[in-house]
């Protein structure tokens, strides 16, 4: 993308805008998943405004990088990113979860929303789809890259590991899986619900190149995504350590905010907290 932004301050400000849009659209919708949508805002800002090779005015451009949102429940951060990148007008964000909206509660390809690569919402399916895309790019000798976004709780799905096996079998170095390692899920901390560690070792054992970073640091993310793109021979997984609810101090790391939307009062308080955050 011509307008790829490298300036961390500018990307930070974009991430803040994405968070604002997430809070507003969820408050308007009255339901949805706030916590991880906020936690992923920095990752999405870096992807859609700096890293991805894409053309928002030409959403079906054949050489675009593909992004598969495996965790469909964080659709609000994807929608906010697509709208701010120019795929559709930001006004449409107010239709989230409403009857007839292209912004379904979980993404639906039948809406023909520009920029959307696949439907998703049933956890554990997106890595397989990303493998299928990356395999196609390899077979067709195309340069485009594939990115998939996962939750850490999602890694408890067995199908993820079937897909992980196939990605390394086919040496899909054009595939980068990003795991939102916020260490919480609906029932509580991941280590209590179902242990995931040693997570880096697990991916290494499955034949992956493993990178870790602070998933709420723009600088870290720019660096690690660059490394992933340059790496050859194996698929890369980025274990992005984030805080659920990042940017809104009063709800950070609070897993009760996984699947909630702010009410009118909270909306104002959260937007204020965003402005006060550095």
């Amino acid at each position: 993308m011509k307008s790829a932004i490298q300036d961390t301050k500018e990307l930070k400000s974009i991430a803040r805008q994405l968070r604002r849009d997430v809070i507003n659209s969820l408050a308007t919708a009255g339901s949805g998943h706030l916590g991880a949508s906020l936690g992923l805002a920095d990752i999405f800002a870096v992807l859609y405004f700096s890293h991805l090779n894409h053309q928002p005015q030409n959403p079906h451009w054949s050489q675009r990088d593909r992004l598969v949102l495996s965790i469909g429940h964080v659709a609000p951060i994807l929608y906010a990113s697509l709208a701010n990148a120019g795929y559709f007008h930001r006004d449409e964000l107010a239709t989230l979860r409403k009857l007839g909206s292209r912004l379904q509660g979980h993404p639906g390809l039948d809406t023909q929303l520009p920029g959307l690569e696949t439907s998703s919402g049933s956890l554990g399916q997106g890595l397989s789809i990303a493998v299928g895309m990356a395999l196609t790019a390899k077979y067709d000798k195309k340069k485009w890259q594939v990115y998939s976004i996962h939750g850490d709780g999602e890694l408890q799905e067995g199908a993820i590991w079937e897909a992980a096996m196939s990605a390394s079998h086919y040496k899909l170095d054009n595939l980068t899986a990003i795991v939102d390692r916020n260490r919480v899920q609906i029932d509580g901390p991941t280590h209590r619900v179902m242990s995931l560690e040693p997570l880096p070792d697990k991916f290494q054992a499955f034949g992956w190149h493993v990178l870790e970073c602070n998933g709420n640091s723009i600088k870290d993310l720019l660096d690690v995504l660059h490394k992933a793109r340059e790496y050859t021979g194996k698929p890369t997984v980025i274990l992005a350590h984030t805080k659920m609810g990042a940017g809104v101090a009063q709800i950070e790391d609070d897993y009760s905010w996984h699947g909630k939307a702010p009410d009118a009062k909270q909306r104002i308080a959260f937007l204020k907290a965003l402005d006060n955050a550095n």
Binding site: D110, T118, I129, A130
Partner: protein, 324 residues
């Protein structure tokens, strides 16, 4: 399309899975978007013809059916027409959620092969006899279900799944060699039932391997002065409801026959149409809400009443009940 039964000559015995394999090879020759994904039983589902001919377009994915459906979805989203085939018990049932969300909700051209359909799988027993696949696939929006009656039609259906079905398709076929009899020049149009025999007393509506048995049942009944029509439902979904209503109008009695559970299969689909649009007396031949077992195909078809003599008996009983 109407043909006299006298014209339907058995050319030999060929498994419908061979028809699938040959059809896949043919269509892959014509359309280079076609790729195939293997689940460790490539020869068993007859994708070995494709694999030998187009090795670079064949992708082995191992014993990981959920992943195969997702990978197929990813390839279809990238412009390919992937065939993913394994035994129907796995390709339709283990992977139902992947098929529902990644394939049907996306409405993309993934073509799923469901092998070892029905009880005629034989000695492998209940775990490997796909008897619920139609019920589950039929409930999914955007899915087309093709259930060809012989190897010739299986090849036609496989090609048509690419040329005439823009979205997802499930192609159901069996393991054992069965009579190959459909005229090669009989057009195969998804969603258009084929009337293979004409009679005015009753219509046998069947699918898959049961078509041959239905035709033999018709012969038995002919000798007893009962003349029945035979309707080949090679496409379970979208169902040719017009042809079914027409059969009900012209013969007044319907008997359905399938190698599948009675719940949710062809019989249910036909009943849904008739109950709402043209109710007539009906009987259903199929698996009566039970699992299969080991045995030879012949023994099993006999035990569960999936053979010409029983079909004829069920038809005769139904007619007698109506008269009395």
């Amino acid at each position: 399309m109407q043909i006299d039964i006298g014209e339907l000559q058995k050319r030999g015995d060929v498994p419908t899975r061979i028809g699938f394999g040959r059809g896949l090879e043919t269509i892959a020759e014509i359309d280079n978007r076609v790729v195939a994904l293997g689940a460790d039983i490539t020869s068993s589902v007859s994708m070995n013809f494709f694999q030998a001919r187009f090795p670079e377009r064949f992708f082995s994915l191992g014993i990981a059916e959920q992943n195969i459906m997702g990978v197929a979805a990813g390839m279809a989203l990238s412009g390919k027409i992937p065939f993913a085939a394994t035994y129907g018990v796995f390709s339709a049932l283990r992977t139902t959620d992947q098929i529902r969300v990644s394939i049907c909700y996306n409405n993309i051209p993934v073509k799923i092969g469901g092998a070892h359909a029905g009880i005629s799988v034989g000695p492998d027993g209940a775990t490997h006899q796909a008897l619920e696949d139609i019920a589950v696939m039929r409930a999914l929006p955007n899915m087309t279900i093709l259930s060809p009656c012989d190897a010739t039609q299986a090849a036609q259906a496989t090609e048509a799944a690419v040329t005439q079905v823009p979205g997802p398709a499930y192609i159901r076929f069996g393991r054992e060699a069965v009579p190959d009899f459909i005229p090669e020049d009989l057009p195969f149009v998804p969603g258009k039932a084929q009337k293979l025999k004409d009679g005015s007393d009753l219509t046998l509506i069947a699918t898959g391997h049961m078509i041959w048995e239905a035709l033999q049942a018709a012969k038995i009944l002919d000798k007893e002065g009962i003349h029945v029509s035979v309707l080949n439902i090679h496409t379970i979904k979208p169902l040719d409801s017009q042809a079914i209503i027409k059969a009900a109008e012209s013969t007044g009695v319907i008997v359905t026959v399938e190698e599948h559970q009675l719940f949710g299969g062809l019989g249910s689909a036909v009943a849904e149409v008739l109950a709402q649009q043209f109710p007539v007396p009906m009987a259903m031949v199929g698996m009566p809400d039970c699992f299969g077992e080991s045995g030879t195909p012949e023994q099993l078809l006999k035990k569960y009443g999936l053979h010409a003599q029983n079909i004829a008996a069920v038809a005769k009983n139904k007619l007698q009940k109506i008269k009395s």
